[in-house]
């Protein structure tokens, strides 16, 4: 097989996720009166950022063959923390952000330690630590509110031009109508991927995560540091979830220890990871796919907003029906992934290892 074919064959899940996203978001852009406009991109990317972060967070534990049911709680905890510390002088804001990110990574690291050294099942550990993190969130932010630096909020949640406007920096003219229109959240995601994920994936520890998820025994036999890879996976999961929580604080200008919302984010993160092509059994997939998975999930709900309420398909835009449509599409998507089951000829292969 040629290198290109192998490359296609190893990444088809990612391409499929990208394809699904393009299809869904394309439909939306086509139907929306302001489709393709910078303003709409900004709005959509804002609405997607938190889910994208949480989905990225979920990807790493899933790659190792585990699961993190605390990503929503970590996100909420950091959201509550940010509403306390990300304000004041620029130095205080900066230190606040650092504190948020470190706390997030620490939360993930604690998960990892309990799982690795306590030898407990990830599902149940993160279920319990999720409650603890939620408790801390409630402690930090008993009622919705708090304060987040307004300038930073503007800068982070609009397009790149807004950064220059907010801080009064001179804006080059060539930039304003080209790169300046790129939504800041998109740039942030790209930075996170390039600065954290890509190096991690190409490190020995990162590749160890794939190895552990694919064949733990073989990974151990090959002399890999299995524990370190697991620890790293959960720590990074905490960090990614924390980035989401921080962004949510910037987006809403406040903190809110909302338990149902945390639960919803956790569950949707799993769905996004699966749509993004990461195997729940571990070893296959990656963060980039999950980003497209999360965006696809979001784009589905965007679509419901744009159908003409009086047209023949008007019922689709009925807000009451939206949760039903979203659920059905999720269910159909995961069931369609199961089509291979019917082509398996040796029934023993139906059972996992």
């Amino acid at each position: 097989m040629s290198n290109f074919k192998i490359w296609m064959a190893s990444n088809w899940r990612l391409f499929l996720a990208i394809g699904i996203f393009c299809l869904i978001y394309g439909t939306y852009s086509f139907l929306h009166p302001a489709g393709g406009s910078s303003r709409l991109f900004v709005q959509n990317s804002n609405e997607s950022f938190v889910l994208i972060s949480v989905a990225m967070a979920q990807t790493l534990p899933v790659l190792t063959g585990g699961l993190d049911l605390s990503v929503g709680s970590v996100m909420t905890m950091i959201n509550a923390l940010a509403s306390n510390v990300v304000n004041g002088s620029p130095t205080e804001v900066f230190l606040g952000i650092i504190l948020c990110l470190c706390s997030a990574a620490l939360a993930g690291f604690i998960n990892g330690c309990i799982i690795v050294y306590g030898r407990l099942q990830p599902i149940i550990v993160t279920l319990a630590t999720g409650a603890v993190f939620m408790g801390i969130a409630l402690f930090l932010r008993p009622t919705p509110g708090g304060e987040v630096d307004g300038d930073l909020s503007f800068a982070a949640t609009f397009d790149l031009n807004e950064i220059f406007f907010t801080y009064g920096w001179p804006l080059p003219e060539w930039f304003e109508n080209s790169l300046g229109l790129i939504p800041t959240p998109v740039v942030l995601i790209v930075i996170v991927v390039l600065v954290i994920w890509v190096p991690f994936k190409n490190s020995v520890t990162g590749r160890g995560c794939y190895a552990v998820g694919s064949a733990e025994g073989a990974a151990y036999m090959s002399g890999l540091n299995v524990d370190r890879s697991r620890l790293a996976a959960y720590t990074l999961a905490g960090l990614f979830a924390g980035i989401g929580g921080l962004y949510l604080a910037l987006q809403t200008g406040s903190g809110n220890a909302d338990i149902p919302q945390a639960g919803a984010y956790t569950l949707n993160s799993i769905a996004a990871v699966v749509i993004g092509g990461t195997s729940l059994y571990g070893g296959i997939g990656g963060v980039v796919g999950s980003i497209f998975g999360a965006m696809s999930l979001r784009a589905i709900s965007f679509n419901f907003r744009v159908f003409d309420a009086d047209g023949p398909l008007g019922f689709i835009s009925d807000p009451l029906l939206q949760p039903l449509f979203e659920g059905s599409i999720l269910l159909i998507a995961v069931s369609a992934g199961a089509a291979r089951v019917f082509s398996i000829k040796n029934r023993l292969n139906l059972f996992g290892s």
């Binding site: 097989m1 290198n3 192998i6 490359w7 064959a9 190893s10 190096p199 190409n202 490190s203 020995v204 590749r207 794939y210 190895a211 998820g213 694919s214 064949a215 025994g217 073989a218 990974a219 036999m221 090959s222 002399g223 890999l224 070893g283 296959i284 398996i344 000829k345 040796n346 029934r347 023993l348």
Partner: protein
């Protein structure tokens, strides 16, 4: 540093490896006792022994997977205590284990360089360099056709074995241990591996080669060591002992007494099972066979030629087969093991008893009665007294050595575990018993009991299909033997035709004269 040590010691001794008084216990069980053993530089040293002889414990100790309970281990004259396989490989001791240590979802290059990949100046894995390293190593094992970017899971088993060897060579071994390295390979691939191994010997590499296949040892090894029951019996040069002597050393008694005598059947056995032109997924091609009442037929040939699949097809596991399966002359569409059990009185003793035959953490009694519960139910309720009585009867009949029926089946020895699997099926009243390599990993004593049991079953009207990777079993147990080659039965042997020469020749698809090889895969 390691290099220097090796050079300095080279003059002192030509032994790369010395074991002195090595013992290993697992709990109360002694796996190795007082083993003295050494290995000469630049040789291929074969270790022979039955399963349970202590071979695998021996190599686990040498390669640092487990630590000996007592005794010392010297590598190139230096006393070493390896805490892990990684540490052993730092001193040039690298092992290729029987269960492949490749990671299916990573690429060939990733796998070859997994332990210590080349890194760029940022400390990240240098993919391009990795491909180069992998390409070189693959070329060294004559596998230049394998694309290093391909995922391991997309490679056929034989190629994976080569990748495994390439991976081991990448760690620059001085002593390479191969544990049943060719058990999954076709004849042509086995020959390729030998060529590579001989080449490596020319380069001065020492190899420890563990196998239970006599034929391989004869071709390859310079020296041989025989192990039995955890003890080192004898080490000698190739050719110093005859095959029969070696086998006797391995099993500890005279060889011919192992198998019960075969009865002479009249020609007209009642046919219980017929297979006509069965094909499946390219791996079974027009297989036809018949099984008579009270008959034991064997399936032979190299591993993976369709023997396993035909048993699965008969047991209702394979979907979409073509051809006919007839029970007592009536065609049956086999759709599930449940159907095979209830409609056909068929039993399958699966290949892997630990994962497919038993629920290891569950009790002995739960394991024995699991297939018979529907017969033991009154109304909705399991009749526990009837169940206990039947289980006791089976344990007695099979002479399974147990402490308590409530103990987890995992606590039993391999042989007794296999007896539990067989007991489970005999309890259902099965009349046709499919045996998928049933004596693998079982001690010689139990093997002999099982051979007797198979014959007793046949004599009492059961019919048996036995697939074995051990030629001697086919010769000793079976009334007829069908040799599989690439999914087809290429030869059927009966009576005196069932001998080693014929089986080996047919397995390799050669003419009986042994001159002419057929088309190789």
């Amino acid at each position: 540093m390691v290099e220097q040590v090796a050079h300095k010691r080279a003059d002192d001794s030509d032994l790369i490896l010395q074991l002195e008084g090595i013992s290993k216990r697992y709990g109360g069980v002694k796996a190795l006792s007082q083993v003295d053993f050494s290995c000469k530089k630049g040789s291929i040293h074969a270790i022979l022994g039955e399963n349970g002889a202590g071979k695998s414990t021996l190599i686990k100790i040498i390669s640092g997977v487990v630590q000996p309970t007592e005794g010392t281990l010297k590598v190139a004259g230096q006393v070493q205590q390896f805490a892990s396989p990684t540490q052993a490989s730092e001193y040039g001791v690298v092992c290729i284990f029987q269960e492949l240590s490749l990671i299916p979802d990573l690429s060939v290059a990733d796998n070859i360089c997994i332990t210590d990949p080349p890194r760029n100046r940022f400390g990240l894995i240098d993919k391009a360099e990795q491909i180069r390293v992998a390409t070189d190593l693959l070329a060294r094992v004559n596998c230049a056709d394998v694309n290093p970017r391909e995922l391991v899971k997309n490679l056929p088993l034989s190629r994976r074995q080569m990748v495994e060897i390439a991976k081991a060579l990448g760690r620059k071994p001085k002593l390479l241990i191969l544990d049943e390295a060719t058990s999954a390979l076709s004849a042509a691939d086995v020959e390729k591996v030998y060529e590579i191994l001989r080449g490596l010997r020319e380069e001065g590499l020492t190899m420890l080669y563990i196998s239970h296949r006599m034929h391989e040892i004869e071709e390859l090894a310079d020296r041989l060591s025989v192990f039995r029951n955890g003890e080192h019996i004898e080490t000698f040069d190739k050719g110093a002992r005859s095959n029969d002597e070696i086998i006797e050393m391995m099993i500890g008694r005279e060889y011919s007494s192992v198998f019960p005598p075969k009865p002479t059947h009249d020609d007209k056995l009642l046919t219980v099972l017929e297979v006509e032109n069965l094909s499946w997924d390219g791996r079974l091609n027009n297989v036809s066979l018949t099984l008579g009442e009270g008959e034991i037929i064997g399936l032979g040939g190299l591993d993976g030629q369709g023997q396993h699949e035909i048993l699965l097809a008969l047991f209702g596991v394979l979907r979409g087969y073509e051809g006919k399966i007839k029970l007592h002359g009536k065609e049956v569409a086999m759709g599930s093991p449940k159907q095979a059990k209830s409609d056909g009185s068929i039993a399958l003793i699966p290949e892997d008893r630990k994962t497919e035959g038993l629920m290891l953490p569950m009790s002995i009694q739960d394991n024995i009665s699991i297939a018979t519960l529907d017969q033991l139910t009154k109304g909705l309720i399991i009749d526990k007294s009837a169940e206990a009585a039947k289980i006791a009867e089976m344990i007695e009949k099979m002479s399974i050595k147990i402490g308590n029926v409530d103990d987890a089946v995992a606590t039993l020895s391999g042989g007794n575990q296999q007896k539990v699997v067989i007991a489970k099926w005999l309890m259902t009243g099965a009349k046709i018993v499919l045996l998928d390599d049933p004596t693998r990993g079982i001690d010689v004593g139990t093997k002999q009991e099982l051979y007797q049991l198979f014959r007793d079953l046949a004599d009492s009207g059961h019919s048996i299909i036995l697939y074995s990777t051990d030629y001697d079993e086919l010769i000793g147990c079976c009334d007829r033997v069908s040799i599989f080659y690439q999914g087809e039965i290429i030869r059927e042997l009966t009576g005196d035709e069932i001998n080693e020469t014929n089986i080996v020749a047919a397995s390799l698809n050669m003419e009986i004269s042994g001159q002419q090889a057929g088309t190789m895969p």
